[in-house]
Symmetry: C2
Subunit: 213 residues, 2 copies
């Protein structure tokens, strides 16, 4: 059965993005430091069209994330919500470039309707304005029996967690402090039977996998 | 050389105590759930005068904490700051019972001067009113070359972290949400060269050890 799998990098003090998100700092100030563990990995570079890279204890964790994902859900900010100045003769394509790394259908939960956006490499962004449950329905159908990845950010993750819809939560705990920004668990009261099932120690990150059966 | 070693159990959402701390709930509402991993351990029961208990992956982590500690520092709330009604014909002895589990000198950072309190089993509480640096000086001298344990709570830990005085930080990350309470890292901007050096996966807890050399 298709499962909804949340995965996020999170600082030791609980932030999944820094403050003052902008086109220059889409992850907020300091937010890129949350992802330093993943950038050097060959398993990350490949879907981004890059060669080379290393293998370490994080590799199987990342490969497990990428395996069996048939669709992705994200919030509007993660698509690229507030880009600042851009060439308005062209439609805004988000922050992911012409060839996004998803290579499957992506559902963006937003309040702004717009037609689907077909990118190179198999990624199609579909903009969903009827909320998280509709997005999940559409994503599950598009995934055709595979799992649905929930990519964040904080706000959309909170909505899915509070609705009890998350079947798996993979947290990449990065041993840094951001001090301010978007907290993953703000307003989240409980984990709806998500239990810690696996811990992986890796360079500059600790992976905690939660699941419910 | 004597090192200052902070050790705390912390929820997935960053709290080291629940809200509404009281004599009935010294760790705040839900706060006791932060310590469920430690109560069954033989290595915890022994210094508390209890027999039996189990051994698991947390045992060496706890033993390492207890080893080489010659003195402990804590904040006033952790000693037992606001106990509510009690028999005022006797001095308030804190929350730790007649025979506290420390078995060495304990320095309580407080604004209320009072004479030292000698308990059974080798624990002597000394009340320090001149702030964290004086407490550290006194504790280091009392430890006679051994390390000094910093037992919390949140406020005193923040003061030592912000002063850059912490040499080692052992976080026991418990996979639960408390939703509110005292956050360990509130107002803490950076880790002053504390780096993740060891991760231990254990039942119901993940131990992250930070150290600076």
């Amino acid at each position: 059965m298709s499962r909804l799998r949340l995965r996020l990098s999170i600082s030791l003090d609980g932030f999944v993005a820094g403050s003052n998100q902008s086109a220059q700092h889409p992850l907020g100030e300091g937010g890129e430091d949350l992802h330093q563990w993943v950038f050097p990995l060959a398993a990350w570079r490949k879907p981004h069209g890059l060669e080379g890279g290393k293998t370490d204890e994080s590799t199987p964790v990342l490969e497990e994330e990428l395996t069996n994902s048939g669709a992705t859900i994200m919030g509007r900010n993660m698509f690229g919500g507030h880009p600042g100045p851009w060439d308005r003769t062209k439609p805004w394509m988000g922050w992911w470039g012409a060839r996004p790394p998803f290579h499957h259908p992506v559902f963006v939960v937003t309040t702004h309707p717009r037609p689907p956006l077909e990118m190179e490499g198999g990624t199609v962004f579909t903009f969903v304005t009827d909320g998280i449950e509709q997005a999940y329905d559409l994503a599950r159908r598009a995934a055709k029996g595979k799992d649905v990845a929930l990519a964040g950010g904080a706000n959309i993750s909170q909505q899915y967690l509070n609705a009890g819809l998350v079947d798996e939560m993979q947290l990449h705990i990065v041993p840094i402090l951001l001090g301010s920004g978007a907290r993953l668990f703000d307003g989240v009261k409980h984990l709806h039977d998500l239990r810690l099932v696996k811990t992986v120690a890796a360079p500059n990150v600790t992976h905690l996998k939660f699941s419910r059966e």
